[in-house]
């Protein structure tokens, strides 16, 4: 049976510590290039600070982890890629990016409303010796291609290998946990199989507090958010004009 991996991110639990970002970068062999800026760096997982726009004591801030939303319907990046370098994996529902087939036209980046795609503006490089600390099973992306979060596909792969080794069809959910989920100290990021109705995460997506970013453009992301705070929920549709970047 095919899975639909997804997330529910509880924004009320997110303290914006950034552990998920570092864990993600470390797991996925993202180089830390000094020349990269907040507009040219690779941050497959990016926690963004938002506020209710107030400057006085009533000011509230929250943090929104932004990663590939794994859009399910009319996946914007898939339909635009001229050479099938992006495809939705039928078996997992994960939007897969194939860097070795990407020619770096960046059309998918203009198509993604969540700015969850990143371009390798530089050759990947590490300080002398640090390449020994690269995490195995995740290939380093070359300059000039687009990349994004693929829900730690390397981990899924090893989980599948483990299952195959044990002669099992299905992977043990405990074996496949993306780095950011594993890293979150407050358990704000929850990961599960949305196709499985018994999965607590899949059930959480139906809670009244759950919402998806820009739901109305109809891309049906598999990454959900939830919050009890109304001003945070105003994110759900693009009309949350009162919400400003922190």
């Amino acid at each position: 049976m095919s899975a639909r991996y997804g997330m529910v991110i509880d924004l009320d639990r997110c303290t914006g510590c950034g552990s998920c970002m570092v864990a993600c970068a470390s797991e996925n062999n993202v180089p830390s290039l000094p020349q990269a800026s907040d507009r040219t760096g690779l941050t497959p997982m990016l926690v963004r600070r938002i506020s209710n726009g107030k400057q006085d004591e009533s000011r509230r801030e929250a943090f929104v982890p932004i990663l590939c939303m794994q859009c399910e319907h009319e996946t914007p990046c898939v339909s635009v890629c001229p050479q099938q370098a992006v495809e939705v994996d039928k078996a997992t529902g994960i939007v897969m990016q194939m860097p070795q087939r990407c020619l770096g036209c960046r059309y998918c980046m203009t198509a993604c409303p969540y700015h969850a795609r990143y371009f390798n503006w530089w050759d990947p490089a590490w300080p002398a010796g640090m390449e020994k600390s690269l995490s195995p099973g995740v290939a380093v992306r070359m300059r000039g291609v687009v990349e994004k979060c693929n829900l730690c596909h390397g981990r899924l792969h090893s989980a599948q290998e483990k299952a195959a080794g044990a002669g099992k069809r299905e992977i043990d959910p405990a074996d496949y946990v993306p780095a950011c989920v594993e890293a979150c100290p407050t358990g704000a990021i929850r990961f599960g199989n949305l196709a499985d109705d018994n999965d607590p995460v899949s059930q959480e997506t139906h809670s009244p507090e759950a919402f998806r970013l820009l739901a109305r453009i109809g891309t049906e992301p598999k990454v959900f958010y939830k919050s009890k705070e109304p001003w945070v929920r105003a994110l759900a549709d693009g009309s949350g004009a009162e919400v400003k970047r922190g």
Binding site: R13, C17, G41, D123, M130, K132, S135, P136
Partner: protein
Amino acid sequence: MKVTRRDWLVWGAGATAGVVLSPVPWKLLGDTSIWTQNWPWIPQPARGPLEVKASACTLCPNGCGLRVRMAGGWPVGLAGLRSHPVSQGALCPLGFGAHQLIWHPARLRAVRHRGGASSWDEARAAFVKACSEGPVGIVDGFPGRAASSVFESFAQKRNGAYRAVLGPESQALTPYEAWTRVPARNLGFDLENARTIVSFGAPLLDGWGTPGRFSHLWAERAAGQSDPQLRLIHVETSLSTTGSRAWRRIVIRPGSEAALASGIARVLIEDKLVPARGPMPLLTLSQAAEQSGISADAIRELAHTMVASQPVIAIANDDNPAIAALNVILGAVGSRGGIVQRSKPKHSTISTADLRDMRAVLIDSSMPWEFVPETRAEVFRFAAWDGGPTRADWLLPTPALLEDLTDMPTAPASAIETYAIAAPLVAPPTGTLSAAQFLAEIDPAAAPVEKIIRARCDELLRGRAGTVHAQESTPVTNIATAEKLEEQLRNGGVWVGEPPRAAALRCDLKEWPAERPSKPSARSSAWAAPVLPPLATKLYEESNLLQPVPRRNS
């Protein structure tokens, strides 16, 4: 036949057409494009058996449990160790990239003397000479380790000074030393049982204490709830992460935490919200309001809110006595969910001798790089990385995390006593020595770290108390020998003591301590390494999440 321009034209046209129609250019195109997919200079991840080891993080005194993924004999990923009773599987953002610190460009690899190249022999000679000429001071960032006792005894022998510099979490506990006659290192905040926590600027959700500890509490009992089991009231001067996530947020004038505390205490006593347990603050409510910049009603309202859901505890971000006194008034000292004594005081003779009088000062690598001793003595600075300009005559390269054998005693401010051992997982670069090893070479008679650790395991075993938390937890009584215990600890197990006996702590506060404004803490966070993991640096630069810190080395 004569070659005319016409012939050239014809041949040229023919040649171009021919080449384009031949497979050659297309084949070349294919090969080059495949070549671009793996440029020779793109680093490839190491192949090799993947193994997972458990250890403890030694970059700050909190010693979070580490799950280290190793490939080809090198650490390739860090994660939190779920079985760790305090950190509970969490790490700080810096921790997740810490395995790359081994390769940080700023890594110290050779002895340096006043900027110039030097050698261990020269350094040793200089230090021995200094010792013969006068007393030596030793500064330690993580007191209570085996290394600390090496320092302590060495300093004692040379009738020098051993100085432990504490982080803000521990500093907040120092005022109680005088009132309870229990050293701060034996006290802790019993956050786990508190119902209301008032932090006076303590970044509880942003690098205060063991990262996993409070964030778990908060996430489980407070996050997003309108009437949470755990009420977090954050008093601050400007919006912080903790403030933005707190249940209530109070903004006051910088440095007026003490005044606010006094104001609250006065309200508590005047409104009989607490049984009078201590002296009346010197400040009047209006003065407190005037100083802290919030209305008297707001202070009164705050006081009422504090006691509405008890136990309640106030946490300072420094050693401000007024806030400690507030806890006394609240009856939080020695009570469940308040300030508790987690362990019996060990006989420790911390000399109060001043570093100024020292001939030489040895600074352990556990000290934050910013620390500069107020002395004219010859400074021997141990560090694994060069954090930039500092006042040190000798820069002595030490092993980094995962390279050195260290034991990690109870984390600052923890309510329960713990003991862990970080065993070296990779060999340190040649030419590095820890401060303890350095001293051991000079004084072979003294017990080395290994011996002391063994002795402590033995002590724990004889204490017959506590449990070792690993994949499964084992009571110490079920462990046969000290060797076994040490082995378990070296493999990432954590010894956890008995839960604290709260009532055992008696506290008498005669009169309200003299008011003094809170001073911003010397150590903003517990992070002690001179440099940040490159990925953390990246995080600072490529997100608007955290402000770049001056310590950053790019």
